[in-house]
Symmetry: C2
Subunit: 118 residues, 2 copies
């Protein structure tokens, strides 16, 4: 077996930085392919190819408008990524570190109040 295709899921699709840039560019709203070409400074075929991948994993949708194709972000497809990575947020977030401190303190106080040792 080889590496899973980029079109396997959102995790694989967003591993490519240009594709993340495309999604970032779409955050403000619909864009045509040529808009994206200008914004990213890439060759048009590469942009179309990246868009194809993003379409296949449902990260973007297309709408036809004359000879243009207007691409729109579908952020919902990022939810699995967000859900997975969020589990680890407490590892680095100061908010959670503070929470740990508070919980430890509460526990200590409770033990003291109960007269328990150790």
């Amino acid at each position: 077996m080889a590496r899973a295709p980029t079109t396997t899921d959102a995790f694989n699709a967003i591993a490519e930085p240009r594709r993340r840039e495309i999604l970032d560019a779409l955050a403000d709203g619909e864009r045509s392919v040529n808009d994206l070409v200008r914004i990213l400074g890439l060759a048009q075929p590469q942009v179309s190819k990246h868009l194809r991948v993003l379409r296949e994993v449902d990260l973007v949708t297309v709408r036809e408008d004359g000879r243009q194709r207007l691409y729109r972000l579908n952020g919902h497809a990022l939810k699995p990524v967000h859900d997975w990575v969020s589990k680890y947020e407490k590892t680095w977030s100061e908010r959670f570190e503070q929470l740990d401190v508070v919980l430890d303190e509460l526990k200590r106080q409770e033990e003291g109040a109960d007269g328990h040792d150790k």
Copy 2:
């Protein structure tokens, strides 16, 4: 050029589902390689190889203990992923949808109070 190596960054490293499983297994605390082999049901060499990738992008750290190597999660290395994907949370989160509703309402009220039209 080809696809960027899996060791390029956390985005590429976590595109592989087995590596996410490894990180999940390490969420509870340190594990030896053989622990992970049992937990994941993979062959030992594959686990070692995945761990190498995770090490190279700093998602795990190792500690030697006799002939064992104990791997530990370094969730902090996931922060870039979390930061990037979190920008899009508002796209699907009900919480944010509600916020939009409230903001719209406030705006309408304010306009009404000001005597503004349209």
